[in-house]
Symmetry: C2
Subunit: 380 residues, 2 copies
């Protein structure tokens, strides 16, 4: 039986991970659960999964439920508590499901311990890709991607030789604004931006899907996961989200992984790899779906995607600045402080202000993350 630690157990990926583990009964055991602030759901999860350890990032939320945590469950709190939890119990697989920059430090601890990292947290590779992939190599930790696109590529690459890859092709649904004019971005509401056609996800990532920044971040992740330059990573718009991504090889052959939009599949794959385990998820019936379509992304309309490629080319701390500026800009949009159309301009401004120092050590990353956030908070 494999022991699983979940960083971010109450978010969309965390909840789906627990469902997957339930389906795979007797093969996996939940050891640690950590959350940001959703303590009500955490209490339910503790009852159901009986972990050895829990951590709550938000201290005031932790105060509220302290007495509801059984005595035999170790409780940690605060930013540091996430890290303490990640180093204080024994596990085989670390599911990095916490959204945002906060997921980085605990994930690094799990990597140092040489664990399998089922990685959903985008920031880990986006802001610290070079550092993290080196650390994995040194500690023999393996990253199994838990989003549908990178999992698709990972699956297409089993048994293949990375040196024979000509191109990775990430598919993008195009989000809710695929067929809107650019001028619409000035009047797009929060509800409209959160209305994703295919996937039900958290707010931050859903807005990123509307700007296509989500795909931009995935391009950066793909570079580090698969060790390929940006020229070998393409994006194709595929509104049905059935083909999750593709790999083109040097002989011209293309392999793709397909499935219904359901995060449980890549989560399960990251847990069971190199094996596949029987489940009863709904199967993909292409004859029912009928039609799959593909178009080129419009980089002039979806400027965030272009900015992500630019940051990747720039390297060093640029992806970190891109990510921090985007996170604050999206937050501002969700608080109605800025228009949807302002998001790329803010990121562009941050990238220009904090020119990369060319380094990718953790100190530089934390420094650039912090100062970018401070700067962007002052913008309108």
């Amino acid at each position: 039986m494999k022991k699983v630690f979940i960083l971010g157990s109450t978010g969309s990926i965390g909840v789906n991970s627990l469902k997957v583990i339930e389906n795979l009964n007797d093969e996996f055991k939940v050891i640690g659960l950590t959350v940001n602030s959703n303590v009500d759901l955490l209490v339910e999860q503790i009852k159901k999964y009986n972990p050895e350890i829990v951590a709550i990032r938000d201290k005031s939320s932790a105060e509220k439920i302290k007495d509801l945590v059984p005595n035999d469950v170790k409780l940690f709190t605060g930013e540091k508590g996430l890290i303490e939890a990640a180093v204080s119990c024994d596990y085989d697989i670390f599911i990095g499901a916490m959204v945002g920059f906060a997921g980085l430090a605990p994930t690094i601890e799990a990597i140092k311990r040489g664990k399998r990292i089922a990685l959903a947290n985008k920031e880990t590779l986006v802001v610290a890709g070079e550092f993290v992939t080196n650390l994995c190599r040194e500690n023999q930790a393996e990253i199994l991607p838990v989003d549908s696109e990178h999992s698709a590529i990972y699956q297409c690459l089993v048994g293949e030789n990375l040196s024979e890859v000509e191109k990775l092709i990430l598919t993008a649904s195009g989000g809710p604004f695929l067929n809107k004019e650019k001028s619409f971005f000035d009047i797009a509401t929060i509800d409209e931006a959160l209305n994703h056609p295919n996937w039900k996800m958290g707010n931050k990532i859903t807005i990123d899907s509307a700007t296509l920044m989500n795909k931009g971040l995935e391009v950066i992740e793909a570079k580090w996961l698969f060790g390929l330059p940006k020229e070998k990573i393409d994006v194709v718009i595929h509104p049905q989200s059935i083909i999750h991504s593709l790999v083109q090889f040097v002989d011209g052959s293309v392999k793709a992984q397909l499935g219904l939009p359901d995060m449980k599949l890549p989560i399960q794959y990251a847990l069971t790899f190199p094996n596949r385990t029987q489940n009863y998820f709904t199967r993909t019936d292409l004859t029912e779906i009928g039609t799959l379509t593909f178009t080129k992304p419009d980089y002039s309309k979806f400027e965030c995607l272009k900015l992500a490629y630019d940051a990747l080319e720039c390297g060093g701390t640029a992806p970190c600045v891109l990510n921090a500026a985007n996170e604050i800009a999206v937050d501002k949009f969700l608080k109605k402080e800025i228009k949807f159309s302002h998001i790329p301009g803010i990121i562009y401004s941050a990238l220009n202000k904090f020119v990369s120092n060319g380094l990718s050590d953790l100190e530089s990353i934390f420094e650039y993350d912090k100062k970018t956030r401070e700067y962007v908070r002052t913008l309108n």
Copy 2:
């Protein structure tokens, strides 16, 4: 440098194989060329590729060009000549590209020698699947499929575990009559049946594409190539022929291989496997193709596909009878002796007349093949 023997070098697969070998210069050397009767092209090929050995099945054709074969090239003729050629020279890879039942016996010789078999000849596995796969195991010969569908499945399976396959999904273009009413089959002309929307192939296989027998034969081949029962082999109509086939795994994940309709790709893969070699074939641009569609096959309209499943279920000599009856029926259609709509009825009649003896040894196969052909030739 690997040595290659081509059974059927002047047909569509043979000619494409030679193009592939030219592209892969210095990696492969043509050692043997054998043909049915197209001696004019054979003479050109001898000049260009300088083989050690050639064989011509049709003795009178051989007579015509005997003097044009250089002295240092060994020449064999007749049905036996094909077999003699296959056992008389040294090679690493045997490309089984001769169409029809005639391709079986020489291929068996190459299997007995434990060679890699790049197999395009459908009959080898359709009529003698059990015998041939056992023989491969005994002699450590490996079959690399050279048609786009089975090559697609083979590529999707590298690095995967066969026991974790839930279903193979063969795609079918649907041929030129996909959108015709069944009543049209009474008046379909040869030219209409030969007008395949995507692939340029020989006449026999093009008619098989119009009846969907081609797909039925591929279902039978898939059973033997991948060792799966017919319940795990599905057919989906995909008129664009871009997704060449798919594999669905027990976790619900689906993998597909894609490419433009070009036989050079699966041929090259069969030669270079487990590696992939750089080439300059046109790449697949999904955004240019735009749309891929999928529908269920209509088994009541395309009765040949249903008959193939029935023969597979029946087992023993039934697939051999199916194949022989089909080969003669198609020949009769191409000679205007029967209507297109008569093909399935003739096959059905043969399957009923020659009930399987349950065996799959070579003698039974040759016996059933012979008597089926004799019987079907008498039908109108």
